[in-house]
């Protein structure tokens, strides 16, 4: 045993050296970045006269604008362009990539799965979050419940996937089970529970459970804050008018928190677009669980068909566009009220 631990210590030593170099680089990068900014600020602050305003705008807005153009706007345009090109983007193929996406059976399944994800996961997470927010309202010790329910939000989707993959682990029913779900199923008298992850179409919903598990706490915390922000007088007045229970909820609570509900739904939906992490970690997109985000990744980076990958990315973008439009309309309305 002494030899083993000695080599482990040696390995650990080199690992620490490596770590200090890497972290040193990071700290250096931050120091350099802040240093350059300070220099620019100092120099630009000296300049006076009629250049002050334009200079301030250029210096303060310039870097962010440049990064946004390079990082999002140009890629957006370029991806649309690439989606009309062949696999290594050497010539144009017209709409062939879109034709492929819309007529291939395996892609049909991917589109269908993505749609299911985008509808079911956000609705369930938001609905459950709303229910829990109503339940937790006015309870004692609610901070504890909120923290524990909110906790999965801090966990990476990869980590969450490993947690749930373990819950869904299945073995020959005659053997002792190590997966919680199988054990519960057997304890309840189901002698031959299926291999959960492999059972299509059930597996799609089991993967969505992970997303719901992660997002419900977030929805609850935000909605709970919105419910608390409803003035007491309004609730009291409605009660005096005879509104109770569900009617109170339907006609007073929901309208008062409508904006927040939409924001939560949107946020969860945008996160759901990243179902990528979950699908990739739990099934690798096999057994009929593939989603657009993951298929797009494999087309571009595994099969090296950039044209098809780009077309899928554009389809994904078109799927969320109505959401953006709706949010901007809402935002403008709110601004006009100010």
């Amino acid at each position: 045993m002494p030899t083993v631990s000695a080599s482990a210590v040696q390995l650990a030593d080199s690992a620490w050296t490596d770590a200090s170099i890497k972290l040193g680089n990071s700290v250096g990068a931050i120091a350099g970045f802040l240093g350059i900014l300070l220099l620019i600020f100092f120099a630009a602050g000296r300049a006076g006269g009629r250049f002050t305003r334009p200079l301030a705008i250029a210096v303060m807005l310039g870097p962010a604008a440049l990064l946004l153009v390079v990082g999002l706007v140009v890629p957006l345009v370029r991806t649309v362009y690439l989606s009309f090109s062949n696999d290594d983007s050497t010539r144009s193929v017209g709409g062939a990539n879109y034709g492929w996406a819309l007529t291939t059976d395996s892609i049909h399944q991917v589109l269908w799965n993505t749609l299911l994800w985008l509808v079911i996961a956000p609705l369930v997470a938001t609905g459950l979050g709303l229910l829990l927010a109503l339940l937790v309202d006015r309870m004692r010790g609610q901070a504890v419940y909120k923290s524990l329910l909110f906790m999965p939000m801090a966990i990476s989707l990869v980590g969450a996937s490993i947690i749930w993959k373990f819950v869904y682990d299945a073995r020959d029913p005659a053997q002792p089970q190590i997966g919680l779900l199988s054990q519960i199923a057997i304890s309840l008298g189901w002698h031959h529970p299926p291999n959960w992850i492999l059972s299509h179409p059930l597996n799609n919903f089991l993967l969505m459970v992970v997303m719901v598990w992660v997002q419900t706490g977030f929805a609850m915390v935000v909605l709970s804050a919105a419910i608390k922000a409803i003035p007491d007088e309004i609730t009291e007045a409605a009660r005096l008018d005879g509104a109770r229970g569900f009617r109170l909820f339907r006609h007073v609570t929901v309208p008062m928190i409508r904006t927040t509900l939409v924001v939560v739904l949107t946020t969860v939906m945008i996160t759901t677009l990243k179902a990528f992490d979950i699908v990739r970690t739990m099934t690798g997109g096999n057994f009929g669980t593939q989603v657009l985000a993951n298929e797009m990744y494999s087309q571009s980076f595994v099969q090296f068909n950039v044209g098809r990958g780009s077309a899928l990315a554009v389809i994904l973008f078109l799927a969320v566009t109505p959401l953006v439009a709706y949010n901007i309309v809402q935002l403008r309305k709110e601004r006009e009220h100010r």
Partner: protein
């Protein structure tokens, strides 16, 4: 306490409390299973369910030692370098967008110019561009530079094997949300204060440094937590821009690889997963209050 409120309290509690407890327990059990499994000996994990631990407690830290320093998945090298990479990626990728977004948000809110409102909406809209769309063009830019015909506009940077592409990508992708949230906060600063500073002859840079930044600390803190968690937990950006090597790749990438190829070694996989959770969980529980306040700033009025 007024009688109405007292009565309401008395009635609404028992069933709600019970339901809440049941749901909270349900929500916590999967994570508990992960933690318990990670400290059980290999043999136990392979043969019995983790809940047996409470009947026959037998704990060890060997799994953690193995995943950190030895690898143990039939691959050489432990997770330690990846853990370091996660940290080395997350901290700069939090600071860069935070500073740049605060500057931009200030300019949009207080140095009004023609089109600044439109610009604000455009930035807000960019929030929903799926990252997948930006990956390929950005990767091509980082590796090959930008060319218009035969004219090179941007030379190719040789950044592969460094953190720079990952930092840059995270910074770019974080800006829309960061600018949106910080703008909401900065725009609400008292107008009198800002005008008084201008009258005193302070430049925009001075106002930004000595008035805006100190007053915005709560908003900056909450966004910093949010961004840190997001970067630490990210898989897609890291997978695309960092590759899978111990030089640059973070924990999430390595864990995703290991789940794919060595899914059966639960004692190691759970220890690895718990290592990747521990930093965000500490950050989350320590700073939860600010984090929640920051999330609410953008979504709850009043």
């Amino acid at each position: 306490m007024p009688p109405v409120k007292a009565a309401r309290k008395a009635f609404s509690n028992p069933i709600a409390s019970l339901l809440m407890i049941v749901v909270t327990v349900l929500w916590t059990i999967p994570t508990l299973g992960l933690l318990v499994t990670s400290i059980r000996p290999k043999q136990d994990v392979a043969t019995t369910g983790w809940w047996e631990f409470f009947a026959h407690p037998d704990a060890t830290l060997a799994n953690y030692h193995t995943v950190l320093f030895e690898g143990g998945f039939g691959v050489s090298g432990g997770l330690l370098p990846y853990l370091v990479n996660s940290l080395a990626i997350s901290v700069p990728a939090t600071v860069f967008p935070l500073v740049l977004a605060a500057m931009a948000a200030y300019a949009l809110a207080w140095v009004k110019f023609r089109g600044s409102d439109v610009l604000f909406f455009v930035i807000f809209a960019l929030q929903v561009v799926p990252l997948q769309m930006a990956l390929i063009p950005l990767l091509q830019l980082f590796s090959g530079g930008a060319h218009l015909g035969s004219v090179t506009i941007v030379p190719s940077f040789d950044l592969s094997g460094t953190y720079a592409p990952v930092w840059l990508a995270h910074t770019m992708f974080a800006l829309p949300l960061a600018i949106f949230l910080l703008h909401n906060f900065i725009a609400q600063l008292p107008r009198d204060l800002m005008e008084a500073a201008v009258v005193d002859g302070a430049s925009h840079f001075k106002i930004f440094r000595s008035i805006v930044l100190p007053l915005c600390t709560p908003a900056l803190a909450s966004f910093a937590i949010f961004q840190f968690l997001w970067v630490w937990n990210d898989l897609l950006v890291a997978l695309t821009f960092a590759g899978g090597t111990p030089e640059v790749a973070p924990m999430t990438v390595r864990l995703a690889q290991l789940t794919g190829s060595f899914g059966g070694r639960w004692e190691l996989l759970t220890a690895g997963a718990f290592l990747s959770l521990i930093v965000p969980l500490i950050v989350f529980f320590a700073l939860q209050r600010y984090f929640v306040r920051g999330l609410l700033a953008g979504s709850v009025k009043g």
